[in-house]
Point group: C2
């Protein structure tokens, strides 16, 4: 999955990234779903190890355009893990309380503790995406934030946090179909938001902002992956594979007992 | 009071800083107390402006050796301000919950909001002081933290926080007298902690650690002041003067009303 990892400083043109591809999975959806099921089993095991070892912290950042699949990815990739050790933090529009503080305040509050895996459904990146596109702060302010964010993530990494960031990449046509299905299917009506239609008009501004994010904040310690996300099953597969590989590389082990089990007798 | 401000990168030898001096205050204690009273009035006014304007955030960091006067400074300098807009955050030994997170987590949680003035009684600097002297983490870990801290404070400053940091400088003799008075005076017994005697043996290690802090983390956006603190009245004066000058420089004003007062009639 290294083909989707953005190298530090790599210049990104999202138009050149095929959102519909399914590289390495010639068997299509059926193969993809079987592989995802296997990865889910591995992920559940690795998450239990993470929790038991109580050493590493794991932070997963999900960003996407509206309908890009953040909610679906969380459901499909993480549904098999123990929710006791996995937290989801969703960052919607900031509250007045949050706006009185720096933009990293509410984010830092929610970072994973030792043994935890935390998924950010949107994140501090909104502060250089929507804040930029909608001019919520002047350029002078948002342009400084790339450096803050890299330093913040480096601190987290230095202090024991493993960070993986996923941009779920869909194209304009796919978004059209997904929004339309939220209008056509009564079970999806609750997901429809008329504001998405307005945001959609700003697509190219958002792409430009995402390209800057990917170029400036993909680091050795907190890399971005551009996940082809037009096909949901492939999107899930990519995220799951990256996570399983990342967790395996931690070489985790159940902690050695501080006692001799043979000296205890349970009556 | 610029003589006490540490220039970025300035090499500091604390032995060469006279903890007993009272420069610029030839009238001694009596003059000092009068000036402090006047400054207290100004500070109370400026704090109300800060609160009303709801724009800037003010962070004051106090660090010192045991008995150095952190608690006394808070009482003597801030007793006249409205506690609604002033918060004190005291950082004692981290709890298990805090230890499961990065060392800046609990600190970031307590930073001031717009219109607030927050005083840190000890701070994230303990993570490069006691953590270093007592080898709570290896050098590889604490030595990286200077850079984290500068980046963290720069982010806060960029996002509207005014930061001033005070190292209350007493010498070894003065500490001896102060600990002894905690043994001799029954009203001070509650402040005596036998552990302070052990910490005292590590004085030179702490001085070395403080010198590094002062040299590496005094920045344009978050300067350190080395406050001569053997004389409590002078210590108070220095801290109060720096704060009053800092707040005055913000050019604050009561916000213009969004209404025309003359159009309302209160029956």
């Amino acid at each position: 999955m290294n083909r989707y990892r953005v190298k530090p400083g790599e210049h990104i043109k999202l138009k050149e990234w095929d959102a519909g591809q399914a590289h390495g999975c010639d068997g299509g959806k059926a193969e993809g779903r079987q592989r995802l099921a296997d990865l889910g089993t591995e992920l559940a095991h690795l998450q239990e190890l993470l929790y038991a070892e109580h050493k590493h912290k794991v932070l997963i950042v999900l960003q996407a355009m509206d309908t890009g699949g953040k909610d679906g990815t969380i459901r499909d990739v993480f549904h098999g893990v123990n929710p006791q050790g996995v937290k989801v933090a969703s960052f919607k529009g900031p509250t007045p309380f949050e706006l009185d503080r720096d933009y990293l305040w509410r984010v830092h509050l929610k970072v994973p503790a030792k043994g935890e895996m935390t998924i950010f459904n949107r994140s501090h990146y909104e502060d250089v995406l929507i804040a930029r596109v909608h001019k919520l702060v002047p350029k002078e302010v948002w342009s400084r934030r790339f450096e803050h964010i890299n330093a913040f993530e480096q601190m987290l990494a230095d202090e024991g946090t493993v960070i993986r960031k996923f941009y779920l990449h869909i194209d304009l046509e796919e978004q059209k179909a997904r929004i339309q299905s939220r209008l056509d299917d009564s079970k999806k009506h609750w997901k429809f938001n008329a504001a998405d239609l307005e945001e959609r008009k700003l697509w190219s501004d958002y792409m430009k902002a995402y390209e800057d994010v990917l170029e400036k904040t993909s680091t050795e310690w907190a890399p971005w992956y551009i996940v082809p996300a037009n096909r949901k099953w492939y999107r899930n597969l990519v995220v799951a594979e990256v996570l399983v590989k990342t967790l395996k590389n931690l070489d985790m082990a159940f902690p050695k007992p501080a006692f001799d089990p043979s000296t205890y007798r349970v009556d």
